[in-house]
Subunit: 358 residues, 2 copies
């Protein structure tokens, strides 16, 4: 797989087409699995790790068959920039990018399936879907999980379930998560209440790239914290029950903002759009912040002639590694800010059907 | 004269065509005159004021002849809004607008000549030109002054010269002023040095509407303070000698800003343009500030497809009374900000050849 090809696309999970796509960016399920025949990675020598990597990479490459081949990428051979690029696309974790030793990732052409080898566990299977669609994630990941297990047992205990490197994953090895865009809850600071409520029922909240409460672009990833003692279906059900309440809450607050002072909100999102279309240099943080305003504006009908998929893509394409791959060279921060501003001007002019100035 | 017609134009002095029009908005000369046959206004009864007004209004209406008639407006009969409107166009002074009693103003169709009757003196003759063109102002105002004096003497002393209500005007009764746009000197705070230097040589600095050092839109009006003991030609020469130095200083600092960090300056002016094109509500102060950035950007070639006259007009057309005349009704401040924002979006889209969104 030529990673450069990916700079032109934005991945299935950003299609902006699934259920509730105005607020739910994506649904994701991942399973942690370890081969029964090998020790956990913390106790595995370099040689054993290499053997695990070879075994799993072969299984992954057989998985899709001739018709739906998965591309297997040897992450240990990638440049830092390419590894960061895969992190920005949510195809590998930051830890996987930054660790060393034999490791890799299998990726489906639509980028909605990724299989990390030798991350924290021998295998991390991830399935992503655009919008709020955990059922489809679960159907797909179960199929992949079963197909992989046919070729050799995963570490499993009758009493505990699947065994994993970290105790929080023991049981099902599942993490169910949903990425939400919650700008109105952030503006009104109601997001704090959401955090507390989720925390009480044992759900975790992270940002787009795993950061804490000051999430970039008002994106929040909500997921289960532990799995032990509960079935996959229960854990999925749990998240599926909670998310609609948050969606409704965000909708209600948006409606409130529009009703109370439509002009103020319109002014804010419109200026955000104006700055993105004209800035000559812009940081990643400011970009995420302004894009978030614009995204809400599009959803509320305050900004016209701009489609959600094009906008979703900008959140990812303006990340540092994406910009550098676009220019085919490393860029220091100041250069990146200028390249980012130019990219935004060009894309937003294109997306809203205007002629570019340059 | 129907004042509403003026909402569609912007006056000769904003044409943006005279010498050094990138920095010099306009040149202006005014003469203070009093009829020898009547006492100063401070000592004139209502009846005497009415007589002065009638006498001068008749002279003014004869002045242009059939080919170049001056319109005479009875300011005492105007609504507050119309008086503010004339102030915003620099056709009458704030004092003239706010005082009471018989008073009026004669205006040439191009708005480059105005004759205030019963302001501080019986007569204030004003001639304006776009760009740096005091000679043409002087030639025109001398002609008008002479023509008016032919019909009756002005108060004059062999020893002191023309007699005026305020001692600072005694002598020639002349005020020579040049309006400059000095955004780079403001950004770099070098403007303070200009103030001090001008003060030392007896020149006054005011803003667009006579305000102090924090001038709106970075516009500064430089003029002589006193006239006694000097000829008109000396006073004009004095200003004519000083202005090129300030123009050069502003040019030098602009060049410096562009050279040191072109991107930063480009970013600033470009964002200012972006905000003006997209805001849904905007105050007069913010408008002046952003238009000033954009005006400098146009002059430095950082913003294209925007002409100086269209831009100059926006500074005036977005003033409170202009917006209210445009909408044919009084608008409270919040409404004005929305009307102003809409007006800016429409005009800037037109001026840069884009389709308006609404």
């Amino acid at each position: 797989m030529n990673l450069d090809d990916l700079t032109q696309t934005s991945g299935e999970w950003l299609k902006g087409t699934g259920p509730q796509a105005d607020i739910v960016i994506s649904s994701r399920i991942r399973l942690a699995r370890n081969l029964a025949a090998y020790p956990f990675l913390s106790r595995a020598s370099e040689g054993v790790r290499r053997e695990i990597e070879r075994t799993l990479s072969e299984r992954i490459q057989r998985l899709g068959g001739a018709q739906h081949p998965l591309q297997y990428i040897d992450v240990s051979r990638l440049e830092l920039l390419d590894r960061q690029f895969l992190v920005e696309r949510q195809l590998i974790s930051r830890e996987h990018a930054e660790s060393d030793g034999p490791r890799g990732v299998g990726i489906s052409p639509e980028e909605n399936v990724s299989l990390m080898v030798n991350e924290e566990d021998h295998l991390r299977i991830q399935v992503l879907r655009s919008g709020f669609d955990l059922d489809s994630c679960w159907a797909e990941i179960s199929r992949i999980d079963a197909a992989l297990e046919e070729e050799g047992d995963f570490a499993f205990s009758e009493r505990l379930g699947y065994l994993t490197a970290c105790p929080t994953n023991v049981g099902t090895g599942i993490r169910v998560s949903v990425m939400l865009h919650l700008p109105a809850l952030v503006i009104t600071k109601e997001i704090e209440k959401v955090f507390k409520a989720l925390h009480r029922i044992g759900l975790a909240v992270r940002g787009l790239y795993g950061e804490g409460s000051q999430a970039m672009g008002d994106f929040y990833q909500i997921s289960n914290q532990t799995t032990l003692g509960r079935t996959e279906e229960e854990l999925i059900r749990n998240i599926k029950d909670v998310i609609p309440n948050i969606i409704q809450y965000e909708h209600r607050v948006r409606h409130q903002l529009v009703t109370e002072d439509r002009q103020k909100l319109h002014d804010q999102v419109s200026r955000a759009f104006g700055i993105l279309k004209t800035a000559q240099t812009i940081s990643s943080d400011e970009t995420m912040h302004l894009l978030s305003s614009v995204r809400m504006g599009v959803n509320l009908g305050l900004i016209e002639n701009l489609e959600l998929p094009a906008l979703n893509a900008l959140f990812i394409h303006t990340q540092p590694a994406h910009l550098q791959k676009l220019r085919h060279r490393p860029l220091e921060s100041g250069e990146r800010n200028a390249v980012r501003a130019r990219y935004l001007r060009e894309r937003l002019a294109q997306a809203s059907g205007e002629a570019t100035e340059e």
